[in-house]
Amino acid sequence: MGHSIKLDDIATRLRFSPENTKKLLEIFYTSSKTILEHITEATKNNDFESIHRNAHSLKGSASNLLFTHISDIAKEMEEAASKQEKRAYKEDVARIESLLKNTEIV
């Protein structure tokens, strides 16, 4: 049950060369991991503001790369955090992590 994303689609959309696109993906993976760590930390401290900011950022970068499944979850987190709602943010983080692992780029 994995997602697959076409590299060509991303490249066309961004008007990047394939090399740049690959590089972008790598950077995306790294920065997303960092963001998820920030969110986990913020969840422990009930820092809704931080969760909101980070989720917003993740949402944006994920949607640039057509990772709509990830950006959707990020959007949910962002909206919940803006209303200071209690939510299982940990689970969201876990889902996104698994998606990052299981998405294949073709």
Binding site: R15, G60, N64
Partner: protein
């Protein structure tokens, strides 16, 4: 209904009440007039009897007095009596006639009695006079003056019916007695004369007072009244002076002279009486005339009000009936629509649910593909129905707006034809597209809504045309307007039903819905959309003879430059130094790579604080500022940068907001902070190029 009956009944009451009051008024007036006439006649008659009484007294006290005077007076009396009786007969007043007959009899009796003493005769005459006076009183007691009779009239009435007759009789009586005493050369004659003088003085005062009161309360200047008062005063003074100077001579010696002078005075009172009576009659007539007119106006107004109220009632009643009917019809149509709708919605939804279940239970690739295709179609169908409903409710709330943009008309119409070709082929229907030569290729309009209208018309045409029929989409210019029409050779629409189908929730009839399916909203939405375009959807059709739906658009032609824009962007590059302020690494890389590919040099700041520092040390041509950053957000950083540059007289670097938030409040915040524009994330290349073109030098290759 009850309201109308109640109101009309009460108005009838009011009107008939006024009407009867008017009738009463008239009869009251007639009666009053008659009674007053009678009173006046009787009062004048009293004068004659008084004269008779006086003269007789003189004669009986001094037989040397010329009897001829008395005879003449007797004749006059009889004549007057007969006249009265005659008039009474004409008036049919039996009571009065009777009374007058009795008086006549008594007068005859008194005239005949010869051997009577003077005083007895005098007394008998007085009794008759009293009888007449009480008759007058009886009549006057039955006279009813309306409450709103003017004060002057009321005073006049009192004066004439009470005081003047009283004064006249007193004077007459005094005259008679005094004349008799003078004739007799009685000892009391001086006393009598003095008494007579006193009476006169008293009476003049009284009458004057009363007349002045009347004069005051009457607003108009009455010459008659003034003259009467003046005359009375004149004669009274004349008489008094006469009495004073000639006291010792003529009057003391001649009873007849006294009598004559006195009579002159009394006659003057009588003249005044008659004049005032005329005045009273005139007043009363005026009053009644006025009242009559008032009543007539009142009745007329009431009738008018009644008619108006009736009209209003009927109007409101029928309008409310119509309104209630309309509401009932609308509700019925709505509930019909809802029941149709739930069927239309449930059918594809059930298919989706059902086939998903099947999908879950099968792994066969062929079967799965088949089921997925059905789910796909059903969900699209469901979406279209839901869109119809949403569109329609947006229209009802008048929230729908056209978005004008240039597009290739011919290309889009061809696409539509291709889209419906499959549908048409299924029923072996020939679908044709005819575009006249003078139709412009590129136009500015709302292509999505236009296509929505045409799609709806095409799908209806195909739906309602039997196998082997024809459907044509025709575009041609008519005067300066573009006419778009969809013609089919289908079942047609009867003239009676044509109005109906444009209204919502109805197709030509319910059997059509059941046979052909559909929400019934399509044409209503089409109609509303066409109206939004400023046109009117028209229909030419009759039963079983096909239908032609058409409308005329005023459309603006344009050139193909908009198409080129898309392509030319690819070759464009810019010159300059750009700072990207963004905390997300991937986004940084994205922006940097994009801008570098456009030949720009790019600097990166990880948050607001870094951005401010970098600006202090370097100069950039343009800054892209992300909104949400840690440590210092985009808005604050912008404010600081602008402040710094202003303080140090550095040329302002334009700052562009990078934001996922396109709401109006957000936009205002950016502009207030000093940002020049905003670029929505994820950004469109067109939008990026528009901004770069605005603030940087272009280089086209």
């Amino acid at each position: 209904m009850i309201g109308i009956v109640f109101v009309s009944f009460s108005i009838y009451q009011i009107v008939s009440d006024s009407f009867f009051k008017l009738v009463d008024l008239n009869s009251n007036y007639t009666q009053q007039y008659k009674s007053l006439k009678n009173i006046q006649t009787l009062q004048n008659f009293i004068i004659h009897i008084q004269k008779m009484r006086g003269l007789t007294n003189i004669y009986l006290n001094n037989r040397s007095f010329d009897f001829e005077f008395i005879q003449v007076q007797q004749v006059r009396l009889d004549e007057e009596l007969n006249r009265i009786l005659f008039v009474q007969k004409l008036n049919n007043d039996y009571y009065l006639e009777n009374q007058v007959r009795i008086i006549a009899k008594e007068l005859k009796k008194i005239a005949k009695l010869d051997g009577e003493a003077a005083s007895t005769k005098f007394y008998n005459y007085t009794i008759v006079i009293d009888r007449i006076i009480s008759l007058i009183n009886t009549i006057s007691n039955n006279i009813y003056l309306e409450k709103d009779t003017p004060k002057a009239t009321k005073l006049l009435f009192e004066l004439l019916l009470n005081e003047l007759p009283f004064i006249i009789e007193n004077l007459g009586n005094a005259r008679g007695i005094t004349a008799g005493n003078i004739a007799q050369n009685a000892k009391e004659k001086n006393q009598n004369i003095s008494l007579f003088k006193k009476l006169i003085l008293q009476d003049i005062k009284k009458v004057n007072l009363k007349l002045s009161a009347i004069y005051r309360s009457k607003k108009s200047d009455d010459m008659e009244l003034k003259k009467s008062i003046a005359d009375l005063e004149e004669i009274s003074h004349e008489y008094l002076s006469l009495l004073n100077t000639q006291q010792k001579r003529d009057i003391h010696n001649s009873s007849f002279t006294f009598y004559q002078y006195s009579t002159k005075l009394i006659d003057q009172y009588n003249t005044i009486y008659n004049n005032l009576f005329l005045m009273l009659n005139k007043n009363l007539t005026d009053y009644y005339d006025r009242k009559r007119v008032e009543f007539k106006i009142k009745i007329a107004t009431e009738i008018v009000v009644f008619i108006l109220t009736l009209i209003l009632f009927i109007y409101f009643y029928t309008t409310s009936l119509k309104y209630v009917n309309r509401i009932k019809k609308a509700e019925k149509a709505k509930s019909n629509f809802l029941s149709n709708m739930s069927h239309e919605i449930r059918t594809p939804l059930n298919a989706i649910i059902g086939f998903i279940k099947l999908l879950q239970n099968t792994q066969e690739k062929e079967k799965r593909e088949h089921y997925l295709a059905i789910v796909d179609t059903s969900s699209k169908q469901l979406l279209s129905i839901v869109n119809d409903i949403l569109d329609f409710s947006k229209m009802e709330e008048k929230k729908l707006r056209l978005e004008m943009a240039p597009f290739n008309l011919k290309k889009e119409m061809k696409l539509l034809q291709e889209l419906f070709d499959a549908n048409a082929k299924e029923k072996e229907i020939k679908l044709q597209l005819e575009i006249a030569n003078d139709v412009p290729e590129h136009v500015i309009s709302d292509q999505y809504r236009l296509k929505q209208i045409i799609s709806n018309l095409l799908s209806n045409a195909i739906k309602f045309t039997p196998k082997g029929g024809n459907v044509t989409l025709k575009l041609h210019m008519r005067k300066k307007l573009l006419q778009i029409c969809v013609q089919d050779t289908g079942i047609g629409i009867a003239k009676e039903k044509q109005d109906l189908i444009f209204k919502t929730f109805s197709q030509a009839d319910e059997t059509t819905t059941r046979k052909y399916g559909g929400t019934g909203l399509g044409l209503a939405i089409c109609n509303n959309l066409v109206t939004l375009f400023g046109s009117k959807l028209k229909l030419k059709s009759s039963d079983n003879e096909g239908s032609k739906f058409y409308f005329n658009l005023s459309i603006k032609a344009c050139d193909e430059s908009f198409e080129l824009e898309e392509e030319s962007l690819d070759n464009r590059t810019y010159e300059g130094n750009v700072l990207v302020v963004e905390d997300n690494l991937a986004n940084q890389f994205l922006m940097q790579t994009t801008l570098e590919e456009l030949n720009l040099t790019v600097g990166i700041a990880n948050d607001g604080i870094e951005a401010v520092e970098i600006i202090k040390q370097n100069s950039f041509d343009l800054i892209f500022m992300d909104e949400n950053m840690p440590n210092l957000n985009g808005i604050e950083a912008t404010k600081q940068i602008i402040a710094y540059q202003q303080e140090n007289n550095i040329k302002e670097t334009p700052i562009i907001a990078l934001t996922a938030n396109a709401k109006k409040e957000a936009q205002e915040r950016f502009f207030r902070a000093g940002m020049k524009e905003y670029l929505a994330k994820p950004f469109e290349h067109k939008a990026l190029h528009a901004i770069l073109k605005n603030y940087l030098k272009t280089k086209e290759t």
